[in-house]
Symmetry: C2
Subunit: 331 residues, 2 copies
DNA sequence: CCTTCTGCTGAGAGCGCTCTCTGGTCTACC
DNA sequence: GGTAGACCAGAGAGCGCTCTCAGCAGAAGG
């Protein structure tokens, strides 16, 4: 209720020490004797003192804050709100930040005004930025400008990244469909420019080639409608298809709708494997067998890297992608 | 590339004016002549100057930042990451903040350490906080401590809120089911303590009573498994059910799975109406008819309120909830 | 007993900005 | 011509904090 906000000056006075000593105690810095330490701590508790982040940042040049950057917000309508991916990124970062009592600042930037946006983020030096879905070019630009940047999608080798094994995941998905007896396996790929989509495409191709199957594929846009249309088109042209690998659960949800709308059953007639293991995977009917993208783990690792300071060495960590069996593949 | 970060001092020097004048120009404050204004603006552009947020906040006592608070993060596993609601809140706020060049800080707080969390947020005075899912008690505590707070869920009358017409929405959903011919209408409600769930329950009851139908209902926990179990139990005990109102899309996805797993068809045997119009609604099979919660609009309005300063009058704005017809209700 | 070293502590100078307050110029009006 | 008023510019005092540096003990060593 009381409007009064105590400053470190107040704490120092209450404890009968100087501002410098109070600061030392509050920041757990060495060079303060036990008795004074205790006095200051008592004063902090008594006054309910909380350091002012801004003053601290100004004086020290460091900020207890991490930026999360979501790009491509204008191009895909409702991208940020609709796609389950971003919630997972944040959910993965939050506990790590919590523990380090660091703030999370969210930035949504469009395709065009990136320079402006980068400047803005760079201007308020945070501990660094997590790039949730940046293109390799954007990531490189960011890296050049800010240094402390970690990307969550595959990007140029010089910028640190936590990337999932998309290629291996797609490869494993196809092998799984094949193991279950599928012999006419098609793919619904993501946007041709998306780095993750590219890797998943590569993994799919590799598996198909190794298995000696014909490559049948259509493109979606990582959204539901795209999945629906692609599945429709695929089944239309290749009615013999008995398994579909879809590069993203959200598209897979659309694909399942298209398949059943076309009078076929999932998984009896067509098995479907998605990618991500997002909320979309559990909402479909039947629930989706999918390749789990460890988004939370990746985001947490990226955050830790930022918090600890990026070593010159650590670049491009790979995370395994695992099969999660549900009911869209025949048992 | 250049590590040099120009300060307002540099701008002033380059423009040949004092720091005060430079500040006036940069902040679009009155009291600077056109020629000087032009010189300062040129200097800003030439140097690539960006005001330091921290210094500005420290000096002025105001921050261009808005907090978003997500509570109940520890109680429900993966709540933040899994539930589509939060992404929509952020998506709604982002454009408004963008325009006002204001930052978005995200806070996830648990059920227990709320006092600590409130203090922390209050300490770094932002423009205010948007409470995404706070209980009425938490909202009241926040309001007492910070003043500038807007809740997105129904709450105590003294704390400003943007709330959807949950009651009316649930009422309308039941009327719609009835209009389509359903005569044995059941409900799957949300948690008994959740304010939104309570309102939806009220709306459901009111409609059922007016229609002279028997009240049949089960409880879920706003999650998929809860919806599944509730639907299973409902159909088990009341096989004659031909329509279900589910208080949240995510639960409805589970309900649809349970209904079809039990050998009935949606919508031929049982019509289902959800609530929210979240991503879950489009991923189900068939896609879900639902009551659209205008989350983005509510979040945007809340943000605007914070940005403009909350007038003493404006409390408890209500947003209409609209029917979105898809395929889980018989045509 | 004096010097050197170590370990605490406090004084004070900023960090980059805002904002009040003073002073100075220019127009308007008596 | 003198005074009031309006308007504009700059000086300077902070905002709350960090961090360097100097000072002053007391311990150790000669």
């Amino acid at each position: 209720m009381s409007k009064f906000k105590p400053t470190i000056e107040d704490v120092a006075r209450a404890a009968g020490v100087s501002r410098a000593t109070a600061s030392r105690v509050i920041n757990h810095a060495p060079g303060a004797s036990a008795p004074l330490r205790a006095r200051v701590e008592a004063a902090v508790a008594a006054l309910g003192y909380r350091p002012d982040e801004h003053a601290r940042a100004l004086a020290s040049g460091r900020t207890r804050a991490v930026d999360v950057v979501v790009s491509g917000c204008d191009s895909t309508k409702g991208w940020l709100g609709a796609h389950p991916y971003f919630g997972r990124v944040i959910a993965g970062m939050m506990p790590v930040l919590e523990e380090a009592s660091t703030q999370l600042r969210l930035h949504a930037i469009g395709r065009d005004d990136t320079a402006e946006a980068i400047d803005e983020i760079a201007a308020n030096a945070s501990l660094g930025a997590v790039l949730a879905d940046a293109t390799p070019e954007l990531a490189a630009r960011f890296h050049r400008r800010c240094r402390r940047v970690v990307s969550l999608v595959p990007t140029a080798p010089m910028v640190p990244g936590m990337a999932a094994d998309n290629t291996g995941g797609a490869y494993a998905a196809v092998r799984e469909l094949h193991r279950l007896g599928c012999r006419r396996i098609a793919a619904i790929h993501g946007p041709a420019v998306n780095p993750c989509a590219i890797e998943r495409r590569t993994g799919f191709r590799q598996a198909i080639r190794e298995l000696g199957l014909a490559e049948v594929a259509a493109d979606g846009d990582f959204d539901l409608q795209g999945g629906y249309r692609a599945a429709q088109q695929l089944l239309d042209r290749h009615p013999e298809i008995d398994g579909i690998f879809v590069a993203c659960d959200y598209m897979a949800a659309g694909a399942i709708q298209a398949i059943t709308a076309g009078g076929r059953r999932v998984p009896d007639d067509v098995s479907v494997i998605g990618f991500d293991d997002s909320i979309a995977a559990v909402c479909t009917n039947p629930p989706l067998t999918t390749m789990r993208l460890p988004v939370e783990e990746m985001a947490a690792a990226a955050t830790r890297l930022l918090l600890e300071g990026i070593p010159a060495s650590a670049h491009r960590q790979r995370f395994p992608v695992e099969l999660v069996v549900r009911e869209s593949t025949r048992g």
